[in-house]
Every structure is written in C-alpha cells, then in structure tokens.
C-alpha cells in the first residue's frame, strides 16, 4: 500500500527538493562571497540573476522550498499530532494545493520586472497591425 501511493511521492519529492535546495545553497554561499571583491564584481554576479533563465530557475527553487516547508509541517503533524497519521493522505493534498497557491503570487513577483516588456511584446504588433503600418 506504500509503493506508488501518496506516501511514496511525498517522500520522494521531499528528498529531491531537499537536495536541489542544498545544491542551490552551495551556489548561493559562493555568489554572496563575491561581496568580498567589492561592488563591481558583486553586481556582475547579481546581473546573472536578472537573466530570464535564472528567474525561471529561481521560481522552480521557490516552488521546491514551499513544497519542502509545507511537507515538513505535514511530517511533524504525522509525528506529533495524534490524528496526524490518519490524515496524512489529505494533508498531502493540502500540501500540494498550498504549494501551487503560494507559488502563483511568487511567480508574479519574480517575473514582475519583465511584465511591461511582455505586454509591449504582445500589444505592439496588434496596434501596428490595426493602424495599417
């Protein structure tokens, strides 16, 4: 009853998200250490995080952190709450829903600086088409 059930997936996602976050933590400690080389070097490092691909990876990482955090609470409820084990399956559903619900506004904030460009990219061809140019 364990293999292929929600219990297995929650466990597997927890491991994978945890490992991904740890690997990012290594990278993050290194990029923060660029502070020691002054404003020019450090700001060059920050420029990399402004790239669209870096913003996509940031959002994936935020999703991993949210899942790991909410599922961590679920694990503690299973351990310390009397009825935790009985409700583990529905709590897994709540964890997934919460992760997605919080990731949506997070996506808005991560991509907010790109939105004016995005609207310009969609709207401009339409306005030039309608004006017949």
């Amino acid at each position: 009853m364990y293999k292929g059930q929600s219990g297995m997936w929650s466990w597997l996602f927890h491991r994978i998200s945890g490992l991904a976050i740890l690997i990012f933590l290594f990278l993050h400690i290194v990029d923060i250490s660029l502070l020691s080389f002054g404003p020019t070097v450090y700001n060059h490092g920050i420029e990399l995080f402004d790239q669209i691909i870096a913003r996509l990876l940031s959002l994936a990482l935020i999703g991993a952190v949210l899942y790991h955090a909410f599922n961590g609470v679920r694990i503690m409820l299973i351990d310390f709450w009397k009825k935790g084990a009985r409700y583990q399956k529905s709590m897994f559903a709540i964890v997934m829903v919460l992760t997605i619900l919080v990731a949506i506004p997070a996506a808005y904030f991560v991509f907010k600086p790109l939105l004016p460009n995005f609207f310009a990219w969609v709207v401009q061809p339409l306005t030039t088409m309608s004006s017949g140019k």
């Binding site: 490992l19 740890l22 400690i29 990399l48 995080f49 669209i52 913003r55 955090a69």
Partner: protein, 142 residues
C-alpha cells in the same frame, strides 16, 4: 526496479543516540527555517527585486548587525539541516564501506568549507565610509 534492488534493506549504520539527535534536529531546525526562509524569500523576492539586491543594498542592510545575525542563523541552520539530509542520502544509497567513508568525508569537508566561507563573508563585510562609491542601486542583466 531491479536496478534499484541493491538500495533496499536496512541502513548500514546503527548509531542509535546520534540518529535520535538527528531526528530531533531535523524537526527543531525545520521549524526555525520555516520562519527564517519564508521571511528571507519575502524580503528578497517580494519587497525587493533580485536585480536590486546589489552591493549598495547589502551595505545598507548590513549597517544593522542584526541582519548579519539573521543571515548567519539562516546560513548555519540551513547548512546543517541540509548536510544532515545529505548524510541520510549517503546512508541510504552508498553501501560499500570504502565509498561511505569517502562520501561522508567529502560531505564533512563541504560543510566546513561552506560554513567558513559564509561566516567569513558575513563578518568581514565592511561598513562603507560616507560618500564611498557603492555602485548602482539596481542592475540590468537582460
């Protein structure tokens, strides 16, 4: 599934007292990280855009030593929680005694190096002199 069958069975190490400590440490550090990490995400991705987390931004923030303490707690608790997780992964997936020693040693060295690098960066960051050139407030990498 046969390719994974060698990963089945009980773990090779049985140091009971340490495993009990590890079990509690995951949960205690997890509760602390729940608060610290979610606040960190809010400050760095909602209040500020990542393109504006520049040297000047850090300088203004680190003028207050409490933010250095906040970041050091994040570093220390996050790194130990994560490395304890890596230890469990090695325990679960590396079974050859020689390789276990090798992987655990690498993990130990990584923990030490990243803890030292992060701590040194936090402590040695200078409070800039008045009027010093700190670079632009926001950068553009796109």
């Amino acid at each position: 599934m046969s390719a994974f069958s060698k990963f089945y069975g009980s773990r090779s190490s049985n140091s009971g007292a340490f495993e009990t400590f590890s079990w509690y440490y995951f949960r205690i550090s997890g509760v602390l990280l729940l608060v610290l990490v979610l606040l960190h995400l809010f400050f760095m991705h909602v209040q500020t855009d990542v393109a504006c987390t520049t040297y000047a931004f850090v300088a203004a923030r680190y003028a207050n030593p409490l933010w250095r303490l906040f970041d050091w707690l994040l570093l220390t608790i996050g790194l130990t929680h994560g490395m304890n997780g890596l230890r469990v992964l090695i325990d679960d997936y590396v079974h050859t005694p020689g390789r276990r020693v090798l992987f655990m040693s690498i993990a130990g060295v990584l923990l030490l190096i990243f803890f030292m690098l992060g701590t040194i960066t936090l402590i040695t960051f200078p409070v800039p002199a008045a009027g010093a050139n700190l670079g632009s407030a926001c950068v553009r990498g796109r």
